[in-house]
Symmetry: C2
Subunit: 137 residues, 2 copies
DNA sequence: CTATTACTCTATAAAATCTATAGACTAATA
DNA sequence: TATTAGTCTATAGATTTTATAGAGTAATAG
């Protein structure tokens, strides 16, 4: 399951994508409309900024805005940034790989082989869906 | 990510499937061979028993054994029993459905539509893979 | 019938992660 | 220079995860 953080982050990005105009979008607006705790949302948007998905501007007329074309931001990227690995185990993660303590030989591990298939299967869908797709869906 | 509980449970089931003979398989044998903490494994196997996947026998010559043909036990079922919902959010879960507090209209929620696709995509793979497949993979 | 074996049940608890909230601070604009 | 709006640091309650301990119960062998 996705964490609330990730769910909130996805909703916020979709909201920003839908409301991208000349002006940046306010945290408080997103918080109100999407019913996301404001302080929590601040932290989430900051994460998305650190990763280079969002930009921000302070003061009046400020807010958050997308740094890239929504078509260039994949669902896989967003979920990875907010939720961490997509893979079901660290030993099959492409971006957060870690060896299992208990596994003597990964190449012979049936679970590893199976979960690598699951990863490929999930990834193929999440990589081809962009924020643009999510916003118009 | 899957919990260690689920990972251990899957490994244990694969081990039992591979070593199904006339005699049940000992907890301590699985624990030793698969390097799973014994007391933790006891609890996990008990869960799998409560759900009807495993049977057990006490005393000498006792242990755990599969109650069904490994071909009849899907990966989806195992993961649901041990890890809970496969869906990325409760609002798209078939077996553990729960409405979002913050969502005024699920039918109009883009995230809901998208994650329902992800669920179908994952499910189609997990349901067609059986414990038999995992054990021979 | 009793010793041994092996699963069962209840309780407990440390550690990690998740879900926030508070408040002072900084930058931008009018 | 007042107001607006994002930034940063700290903290903290709740929940979940990952176990461990130990007494109890059922089955078998001899």
């Amino acid at each position: 399951m996705l964490s609330k953080k990730t769910k909130y982050g996805l909703k916020a990005l979709i909201y920003i994508a839908k409301h991208s105009g000349t002006e940046p979008v306010l945290i408080s607006e997103i918080s109100d409309r999407e019913r996301i705790p404001k302080k929590f949302l601040e932290a989430i948007l900051l994460d998305l900024k650190k990763f280079g998905i969002l930009g921000s501007k302070k003061g009046k007329g400020g807010g958050y805005y997308l740094l890239k074309d929504p078509k260039e931001i994949s669902a896989a990227t967003i979920i990875r940034v907010l939720d961490g690995p997509l893979a079901m185990l660290p030993c099959v993660s492409l971006n957060y790989y870690e060896k299992c303590d208990d596994c003597p030989d990964e190449a012979k591990c049936n679970l590893n082989k199976f979960l690598a298939q699951v990863r490929d299967n999930t990834l193929s869908l999440l990589q081809q869906r962009s924020l643009y797709d999510l916003a118009i869906l």
